[in-house]
């Protein structure tokens, strides 16, 4: 049985189309990433899967339970962490956790082993009101509350948005540990670099699926040659590379520009072209694409269609 089966889901809010016919499957026990910017439809999809929203069209099921008919069954086995911090700010850390445990008919001590690693970090502040916690601690508490009833499947809606790089890294380490316990995780994120931490990902853009696959396969499907080009003047470099006749796209990536071309380049040719434009410190290197390169490439193709 699949952890989630999604078939041709459509969803619109008034005029705005949030999901335009999405189909995919999530395997049991994997970390599945929904990757895309705001407006891609990630939150709508998660809300449909957690039985919070009706799809306009199409079906979805979680462990074989239909999200419309068997919503009660799903609500028993799903853990959910909404995008916005949504715990009771006027209750303490401990009170929040106890409350969520008891509405699922369990106790904190029963499943403490599951949340131990996370909860230990906030336990010194267990008497503090949740509203007075720092951002990172709130996030850990929210995850603890979503986990306390030992869900079979965990839905995380943008858990790392607005969170600094260090806390993000810690958060993903926690998710990896949960995967080992056998919990299926569906997580959404706008950060493309997090895709590589998932077993499989769905790349989403404006309610459409760009691709669903393992990160490695998505990278393998990349159909251009890619170069990392460096020079002293990054902004000028982008402009000049775009005027280069073999360029498909040129975008800044960190301190280099990723240049995609249809065919293999002779490095000297590019070197010469840039020298003529007056660049200094030129370096050209053939590189493997990342998920972000692939995403941008797929976006461009979708726009061309």
């Amino acid at each position: 049985m699949k952890a989630a089966e999604i078939h041709n889901i459509h969803k619109s809010y008034d005029e705005v189309k949030a999901l335009g016919g999405i189909s995919m499957q999530v395997e049991k026990g994997e970390i599945f990433g929904l990757i895309g910017p705001d407006g891609a439809g990630k939150t709508s999809l998660i809300r449909i899967l957690t039985t919070l929203l009706y799809p306009d069209q199409g079906q979805a099921s979680i462990f074989g339970m239909d999200t419309i008919r068997d919503f009660k069954g799903i609500r028993k086995i799903a853990g959910y962490m909404p995008g916005r911090f949504s715990l009771y700010q006027d209750l303490s850390v401990e009170e929040n956790l106890n409350f969520y445990a008891s509405i699922f008919g369990t106790t904190v001590s029963e499943n403490y082993h599951l949340i131990k690693d996370i909860y230990q970090q906030i336990e010194p502040f267990k008497k503090r009101l949740a509203g007075r916690l720092s951002g990172g601690m709130k996030q850990k508490l929210a995850l603890s509350c979503a986990l306390i009833h030992k869900p079979d499947i965990l839905f995380l809606d943008e858990p790392t948005t607005g969170v600094d790089a260090v806390s993000r890294k810690e958060f993903w380490e926690i998710l990896k540990n949960l995967e080992e316990v056998g919990i299926t995780i569906i997580v959404s994120t706008p950060y493309m670099d997090e895709a590589e931490l998932c077993d499989r990902v769905a790349l989403m853009q404006e309610g459409q699926l760009l691709d669903v696959d393992t990160p490695a396969n998505i990278i393998g499907k990349y159909d251009h040659e890619l170069y990392a080009v460096e020079s002293r003047e990054l902004h000028q470099l982008i402009k000049d590379l775009r005027s280069f006749d073999k360029t498909v796209s040129a975008f800044p990536f960190g301190d280099t520009v990723h240049l995609a071309t249809q065919e293999k380049l002779r490095r000297k040719e590019l070197q010469k072209f840039l020298e003529e434009k007056g660049h200094e410190g030129i370096a050209v290197q053939s590189i493997e694409p990342g998920i972000e390169d692939c995403f941008m490439n797929l976006m461009r193709k979708q726009n061309d269609e």
Binding site: G162, A165, P190, F251, G254
Partner: protein, 242 residues
């Protein structure tokens, strides 16, 4: 970038009760410079930005922005800066043009220059034909670019951008940075915070705040060499974890 300092901060301290949010910050930013202001959540970035914008007074220390003292003339500073954040942007229920007119009016531009700037900036974004659209239904990426244009409409000397690209798609994110580059080339100083570490590499200078202090400050290239790391992301993790 010129050698003229547009932001000068010396021993800036801000305390909330016993808690020190900003601990003896000292740095300068030059005209036209793009400064990436980085730090973990709760490191004290927002507090520092509020002081630089003249919204909040420092506990002690000297702060001057665009030639004005942040303690004595905060209102003068406000006239000379632009501000944009993910949270405060434009009014969703007004059209693009109405938003421009409103914010132009707030900054005291004449009707004529509001009209000129609106046309100029919208044509640059290739959104001029949409000028009578209500903002609400527009894509997030457009809104962020429009918000940036509004923030630079009155030709401020410094523009503060607080996580301007959060949640924006990768292509629009890069287009946004091209707008930042252009503003910098026009001589505007850019003060930007972000959680996308690759964006930190696009800055002329990055500042890394840890627990209220500036732990590292300099060109990304030099800092990476100095700390022996491959990217600003690694630098961030290295410094923030200690």
């Amino acid at each position: 970038m010129t050698n003229e300092n547009i932001i000068e901060v010396e021993n800036l301290v801000k305390k909330f009760g016993k808690f020190t949010a900003n601990d003896r910050l000292t740095f300068q930013v030059k005209k036209g410079e793009i400064l990436g202001f980085l730090g973990a959540n709760g490191a004290g970035k927002t507090t520092a930005i509020k002081i630089l914008c003249g919204i909040s007074a420092p506990t002690s220390g000297k702060v001057s922005v665009a030639g004005f003292d942040a303690v004595k003339h905060p209102e003068k500073i406000k006239q000379n800066i632009g501000y944009m954040s993910q949270k405060f942007s434009l009014y969703d229920d007004l059209t693009i043009r109405e938003n421009f007119r409103l914010f132009g009016g707030i900054y005291g531009l004449s009707r004529k220059s509001i009209r000129q700037r609106t046309e100029e900036l919208l044509k640059r974004l290739e959104l001029y034909e949409y000028r009578n659209r209500i903002l609400e239904a527009l894509p997030l990426g457009w809104k962020q670019k429009l918000a940036f244009s509004v923030a630079i409409m009155h030709h401020p000397q410094v523009v503060f951008l607080d996580e301007p690209t959060s949640g924006v798609d990768p292509v629009t994110r890069r287009q946004f940075w091209e707008l930042i580059y252009e503003a910098s080339e026009e001589g505007k100083t850019i003060f930007v915070t972000t959680h996308y570490m690759d964006e930190a590499e696009y800055c002329d200078t990055v500042s890394m705040m840890v627990a209220g202090q500036i732990r590292a400050f300099g060109e990304p290239r030099e800092l990476k060499t100095e700390y022996g790391v491959k990217s600003v992301n690694d630098l961030f993790i290295k410094l923030a974890r200690n």
